[in-house]
Symmetry: D2
Subunit: 338 residues, 4 copies
C-alpha cells in the first residue's frame, strides 16, 4: 500500500530485460550507440515528426536543460506558482539558465488560466530594459494537483504565448498519464498544439531512470546547444545505451501507454472509493494522483494499516498510484476506511 | 579489439545481478533507500573512516559537484593543464562553481610537479582583491596520460596546498587502476595523504553508471550544501537504489580491485608487446592506458584488423584496456604488428 | 515641472564643489584614497557604530552586491512582489547571487505584512532539499508605493526573519526620505531595528552617482567577500575618490537630511493640492512620491502644461519630487488643475 | 613623482568643466539624455562609421560586458596569458559570461603571436562536444607590458580568428596611447582591421570615470542584449549625463589624443633617461608605460626621493606616466639616479 509516489515503484520487468540485453559487448560511449539512435527513431515515429532528442536520467535535469536553451540569463519563464520547476527543483531552472527568473502565475487546480497569462503578457514590454521579459511558457502535464490541460487549453495558451514572442515548454514528467486520460495522440498534445520543447519522462511510469528532451520543428536547430549544456551539466552518461534501452522498452508495443493506463485506472478507483468513504476530492482526478480531504480519524486509520501517502500542506492528503498498483492494493487501503 | 575507452565496455555481470535484485518492490526515493545507506557504510569501511558520500551517474557530475563546494565563484581551481576538468568537461567546473577559474599547471606526463605548484602558490596573494586566488588543488588519478601520483607526491602536493589555504580534491575516475598499481590502501591514497574530497568512479571499471563523491573528515559538514547542489544540478535520481546497488556490487568481495587489476594487467601486456613491436611509449604505464608512438604502417595494420583506439593530437595513439579485456584481445592486436 | 523621477534632478552644488575639490593631484586608486576612508568614518559616526562600508555608483549595484553576500545560489530572497529588486533591476539579484530566487510576498501599499512573512516562514523547511529556503528578507525604504515601514514594523519583521535564520537587508535607495518622515535616527531605522546590511543611496537625493553598501555588526566580516564581488562585478572604480567625495558632501552638515526634507515637503504639498483638486491618493504619502488617481481630463491638463510624470499600470499617476523641487514648481502644476 | 598608475591622476580640467556644465536642470535618466546621444554621435564621427555605443564607469565593466555578448557560457575567450581580463579583474569575464573559459595564449612582450593563435585554432574542433571551443579573441591595446599591436598584427590575428568563427574584441583601456604611438586612425586600428567590439577607455587618459563599449558593423544588432546586461550588471547609471559629458569633453578638439601624446612623450623621455642611467628596458616602450630593470640601489634611491612606482613580480619595476606628467616630474626622478 505504497501511495507515497510513483518514484518509489520499481522498474517494469521489460525495462530490466532490455537493460540486460543491452549489456552485450562494447558500444560507443556518450550517446553514439545504436540504442540511442533507435530510441530517437522510435520517438520520431511516436510523435509523427522529425525531431531532435536527447536522454537524461532525472526529470529535474530534463526540465532545466530544456528551459536553458529557451530562456536567456536575463529572461524569464512563466509557470504556475505551484509548478515543480518553481517549487520542487531547488532552483534548477535558475541554475541552468544562469539566473533566469521563474515567474509564477495563478490558476485553480494548478492550471494556468488564459486570463492569468493574458494579464501578464498584456503588461509586458519587451523593450523596457529595466524589467525582465518572459521568454518561455512552461505547462506541467500533469500539474502538481494531478490535473491535466486539455488540448484546447494547450492550444490557447501556446497561441497567446507565441504571439507575445515566447516559446512553449511542457514538463511531461507524467505526460503518459495525461495522454491516456485525454485520448489524444502524442503529436496532438505537443507540437500540434503549439509545444516547442517537451520534457518527456519515463521514470515515474516504469523506467529505472530515463527521461528525454524533445525539440520539435525548428527548435531542433538548438540541438547542438542542448548537447553542449548536457555535457557541461554532467548529464551525458558515458554508457548511454542503458538509458536509451529503457526508453525503447517503454515504447515497445505501447508499454508506456498500458502502464499509465493501469496507474490512472487505479487512481480513479481509489478516488471513487475515497468519495464513498466520505472524503472530499480537492482536485479532479485526471491522471494517477488523488488529492483528498479526510477527517483525522480516517487518515490515522489508513496509516495504522500501513498505507504510505503524503500529508499536504493544506491539510489534504496525496495518493499517487503507479504502473504496478494492483486492484488488491486499492481494495486494501479502501477497506481501512469503508 | 576495442581499446577506444573503458567507457565502451559493458557492465560486469555482478552489477547487472545487483540491479535486478534491487528491482524488488517499493523503495524510498531520492536517496532515502536502504541500498544508498548500505553503500555509504561499505565506503566508510573501505576508507577506514567516517565520511559523507553521495551518488551520481557521471564522472563530470562528480567532479563538478565536488569542486563546487570547495571553490567559490570568485575563486580558482589548480589542476594540470591537460586535466579532464580543464579540457574534457565542456566547462562543467566553471558552470557548477558559477564562474570559478580553472588554472592550469604544467608537468611532464600530465602530473603536476611540486615546483610548478610552489611557483604558483608563492606568487599568490589572497588579499589582493584584483587577482583570483586558488581555493582548490585537483589531482587526477589516473592522469590524462595514464600516469599516477605516488603516495609521496600526493602528500607533498596536498601539504603545499593546505599550507596555502587550499583544499585538495582527487578526480578518481580511474582511482581503482591507480590504487591497484600502487598497492596502497584506499585510505592511504586519499585522506591519509591529504585528500579532502574524492570523486570515486566505478563506471569505467565495470559499473553501468555509478560515481560517488566522498567528503573526508571535517569536510563532511559540507554534505548538506552538496546535496542541495546535487538536487539543483538534476543529479539526485528519483530511484537512486539502482545507482547505489551498483556501488555495492562493485565493492562486494573486492570486485572493483579485481577488475582494475585485470585491466591494468592487460595494459602492461599490451605495452610490453608494443615495445617489442618497435613502438615507443609516450608515458609510463601506471594503470589501464597505453600511449604509444608507432609508424604509420603499424597504426594502419592495427586498424585494418579491426582494432579501435584513438589517435592522439601529438601523433601518438591511446589504447585503453577494460575490466573485460582478455589475453586473447591483447594477443590479437599484437599479432597484427609483431 | 519635472516630476518624472528624482533621478532626473541634477546634483546639488555642494556635491559639485566637493568633486572639484577632490580633483587635486594624485590619489591612490581603487578605494585606497583618503576620501573613501573619511567617508567611511563619517558613516560610522552617523550610524553610531563600527561598520564596514563600500561605494558603488548605482542602486541596482548596491542592492545586488549586498544581496549576493547574504544569499547563496541555491537560496532565496524574500521581498514585496512589487519591490524594485523583483521588478525593476532586470534580474540583477539573480545575476549577482548566481541564480538565487527572488520570492515575492504580498501586502497593501507595497509593504510586506507580518502575516505574509509568518505564513511563508511557517511553511519553510530548511532541511527539505527539494525546496529553496529563504536566506534574506529585503525591505524597501521607501517602497515602490512611496510608503515607509515604521520602526515597529521593521523590528517585528526582522525579528521574525532572524528567528527563522534569515538575514535582513534594507534597500535604502530613498532611505533619507523615509528617515526624515519618521524622525528616527539612522541607527534606529537600521541595525537597532535588526537590519544587517543596508544599501544607502545618495543619488536620488542630490548626488551625481553615489551609493553605499553598509555591513553592520558581525556582518562586517563579510567585507572581503563583498570587495571581491565588487571588483568582479566591475564596480570598483579606479578613481573612487570622486564617489566618496560625494558622500562626504551629502553627509556634511546634514545636507542629506535637509534635501530629503525639502523633497518630502514638496510631496506633501503636492498631495494636499491633488486632493483639493479631486484626486484620490492611492497610497499614504510617506516620502517624496505621490500616487494619485485623476480623471483623464486632469492628467491631460497637466501634461499639456508641460508637467512630466509617469502613468502607472493601474491607471493612476506617479509624481516624484526632488531635492530641488520648489514651491513654485508645486504651485505651477497645481494651477493647471485647481 | 607619482608613476604608480595613470589611475592615480586626477581628471583633466576640461572634464571637470564639462561635468559642471552638465549639472543644469532636469535630464532624462538611464541614458535617455542629450549628452549620451551627442557623445554617441561624436564617436560615430571619430570612427567614421555607424556604431552602437554604451557607457560604463570602469574598464572591468566595459571588458566583461563586451565579452558577455560575444561568448556564451559554454564558450571561451582567447587572450594573452598576462591579459588584464585573465589576471586582474577577479574573474569578471567568467562572471559576466556565466562561466565562459578564459584561455591563455603565449607571446613575448605580452602580445599574442600569430603562431600561438594558429596552433590553438588548428587543434580546435567546434563539433566535439566535450571540449570548450573559443568564441572570442581579445587583444589588449596597450598590453600589460605596455606594448601595442601594430595594424598588420591586428589584421592578421583578426583574420585568423574570423576564419575560425571567432569574434574579435579589443580591450582599449589605453587605446589612446596605442593610437598616438601608431599614427593610425581610430577606424584603422579597430573595425578596418577586423575588431568587432571595442572597450574604449577614457579614465586612465584624463576622465573621472568614463569608459565606452562600441559595437561595430553588424554587431550593433547586439545592442539590446548589451543594454539588458548593462542594466542587470548595475552599470546603467541613473544620471548617465555625467559620464557622457566626460566622453564629450575628452573627444572635443582631440583632447584625448593630446593627453595621450603627453603621457607617451613622458614615458619615452623616462625610458631614455633610464637607459642612460644603466637600466635595462624589459619591453619596448609603445605607450605610457616603462618596464625597467635597475640594480637595487637605484630602485632604493628613487623611492627614497619619494617616487612612487610598482615593483613587478619578475624583479623589474613599472613606471606609468599620465596625461599630467610634466617634464619636471621626469627630470626629478631621473635626477635621483643619473
Amino acid at each position: 500500500m505504497n501511495f507515497a509516489s510513483d518514484t518509489t515503484a520499481p522498474a517494469h520487468p521489460a525495462v530490466m530485460t532490455a537493460i540486460a540485453a543491452a549489456n552485450d559487448g562494447a558500444a560507443a560511449s556518450y550517446g553514439a550507440d545504436a540504442w540511442s539512435e533507435t530510441a530517437a527513431e522510435a520517438l520520431c515515429s511516436l510523435f509523427e515528426s522529425e525531431l531532435a532528442v536527447t536522454f537524461v536520467s532525472s526529470g529535474t535535469a530534463a526540465n532545466a536543460l530544456a528551459l536553458s536553451i529557451l530562456c536567456p540569463p536575463d529572461g524569464a519563464i512563466l509557470c504556475h506558482e505551484n509548478a515543480h520547476i518553481n517549487r520542487d527543483e531547488r532552483g534548477a531552472p535558475e541554475f541552468y539558465t544562469h539566473g533566469g527568473k521563474v515567474m509564477p502565475l495563478a490558476g485553480a487546480h494548478d492550471l494556468i488560466t488564459e486570463l492569468a497569462l493574458q494579464k501578464f503578457l498584456g503588461s509586458m514590454d519587451r523593450d523596457f530594459v529595466h524589467e525582465t521579459p518572459a521568454d518561455v511558457l512552461s505547462l506541467s502535464q500533469l500539474s502538481e494537483a494531478g490535473t491535466a490541460y486539455d488540448l484546447d487549453a494547450i492550444k490557447t495558451l501556446c497561441d497567446q504565448a507565441h504571439r507575445a514572442g515566447l516559446c512553449c515548454h511542457m514538463d511531461g514528467a507524467r505526460f503518459a498519464n495525461a495522454l491516456v486520460e485525454s485520448g489524444a495522440s502524442a503529436a496532438q498534445m505537443t507540437w500540434k498544439a503549439g509545444i516547442d520543447v517537451l520534457s518527456f519522462g519515463f521514470t515515474k511510469n516504469g523506467a529505472m531512470g530515463a527521461e528525454t528532451i524533445i525539440l520539435f520543428g525548428d527548435h531542433a536547430k538548438r540541438f547542438n546547444a542542448l548537447e553542449a549544456r548536457r555535457k557541461r551539466g554532467g548529464h551525458m552518461p558515458p554508457k548511454q545505451r542503458y538509458v536509451a534501452a529503457q526508453v525503447l522498452a517503454m515504447l515497445d508495443g505501447g508499454l508506456w501507454v498500458e502502464l499509465a493506463g493501469n496507474a490512472n485506472a487505479a487512481a480513479t478507483a481509489l478516488a471513487e472509493g475515497f468519495v464513498r468513504a466520505g472524503g472530499t476530492l480537492e482536485h479532479p482526478v485526471q491522471g494517477n494522483e488523488v488529492f483528498v480531504r479526510f477527517n483525522d480519524g480516517q487518515n490515522e486509520a489508513m496509516r495504522r494499516a500501513g498505507a504510505q501517502f503524503y500529508g499536504w500542506p493544506d491539510g489534504s492528503a496525496r495518493f499517487v498510484t503507479s504502473w504496478n498498483t494492483t486492484e488488491a492494493d486499492v481494495k486494501s487501503i479502501l477497506a481501512t476506511i469503508l
